[in-house]
Amino acid sequence: MREVVALGVGMTPFGVSEKTCVELFASAAWEAVQDAGIGTKDIEALFLGNVFGDFEEGQAVMASFAAAQLGIPHIPATRFEGACASGAVAVRDAYMLVASGQYDLVLAGGTERCTVMGTSLATRTFAMGSDSRYESPTGITFPGVFGMIAHMYADKYALPLSRLKEHMAMVAVKNHKNGCFNEKAQFRKEITPEHVLNSAMIADPLQLFDCCPFSDGAAAVVLTTLEKAKKMTEKPVIIAGAGQASAGNLGDQRDLTLVQARRISSKKAYEMAGIGPEEIDVCELHDCFTIAEIVATEGLGFFNDGEGSYAAQEGKTGLQGTIPINPSGGLKAKGHPIGATGAAQVYEIVKQLKGECGDRQVENARIGITDTLGGDLCTIVNLILKRGW
């Protein structure tokens, strides 16, 4: 296997956009291509994450049109769908095909335009991430799934629910604070724990400010071999580890606080990179809900099971903490255009490792990890990136 580098990255601002999915992606891709110092004609294949193009714009086979938009209509262009992990699945597959020698230079990423659906259709389509046969007929929603995790977490660790909710609120407060320093974030406004605890109930015990928003946006990554990258940049960011794992429906998963797929996926990524969680300097993880960040910090090995909520409360995950989590603002403040999120996490880690993050820069970040979750905890992707200089 050849060593692979994220040579260039690009990302649109996240929020509400008038642009189409294809236009959004082309905009992010153009930035990534320029960042990489290549031309679009150098791209051999396109791996595009997108979840709901069919419902947002009536658009299937979007990858072909995205390639054409970039003036390279004949390269193999493929759409990847793994719910909210789609962009990460696309980047991982691109990584593997460069590592294996199939391609030398590829473009990967994702695009999404969630806000155009409106709340009613958006809620229906998002519910398609649950098991349509055995679980969706209850009327379960994504906030509901994570509400179930929160209740199970409080019960399992004998933590009073009111206490857990205060800890969860600190996750939202921290991510909003980080988002203030990110010019591409959807929300750039600080909030207080009271904002969270006084907001509308969405799915008990999750309130509005425990939840990430619906967003539009795109992100892109140019991948090539370390050998080629060395001739093009003095700061090659190496993809040192990659893991992906799946799980069945929520009944199959039983103890939802563990998110077993994450433990399997991250173990694979850590083993490939030859490091453990204690060597990670910065992490972008899937905080679709505040409780999601808490269980992810445990699943990735930063804290023992049951200690993640206290870590959030104590500020260990802040920019100056022992393990800075979501310096970009995370899904909560940066936004969550679902097909793009995994690639946007790679964007942030690459920028952090290169020291280009301004006021949200994690000091001397040398190794970073991404964590992307799709569906009812049923698709997880982890990528470990490290400085190649």
Binding site: R133, Y134, P137, G144, G147, H151, A203, G251
Partner: protein, 131 residues
């Protein structure tokens, strides 16, 4: 056993599962192989419809076609499998974390299909024992 057989079973007030002749584990809802050991040496068996609530939520902002204040739980059946269903006959304001650990009996309800479902839908329901 197919989804169709499982759903028809529920409509006849029966909870059908698969008992593994190799490891003894139960699989419900059905899969091609035993969820415990992967064996295909399975027999359809009627399960007891009793279980314990392991976690729950209350949906305040429902998807199209559902009412707000919908209480949903994950239940561990006596035979081992975990299933999701609606907690019926319980006002949302009475659903607290004390629900976890409560005994329930399993039932079902039939919902009409919508644009994106493959026909009608059958949801499992839970009914609290000895409130």
């Amino acid at each position: 056993m197919t989804y169709q057989q499982f759903a028809e079973g529920l409509k006849q007030e029966k909870l059908l599962g698969l008992r593994c002749n190799d490891c003894g584990a139960y699989t419900a809802p059905p899969k091609l192989v035993c969820f415990g050991c992967g064996s295909e040496n399975l027999e359809i068996e009627e399960l007891g419809k009793k279980g314990v609530i392991k976690t729950y939520t209350i949906i305040r902002v429902p998807p199209e076609g559902f009412q707000p204040d919908n209480v949903i739980a994950l239940v561990e059946l006596e035979e081992g499998p975990w299933v999701m269903g609606n907690v019926e006959d319980l006002p949302a304001n009475e659903a607290t974390i004390e629900l976890i650990g409560k005994q329930v009996r399993l039932g079902h309800k039939v919902l009409p299909g919508d644009t994106y479902s493959a026909g009608e839908r059958v949801a499992m329901t839970f009914h609290l024992e000895a409130r």
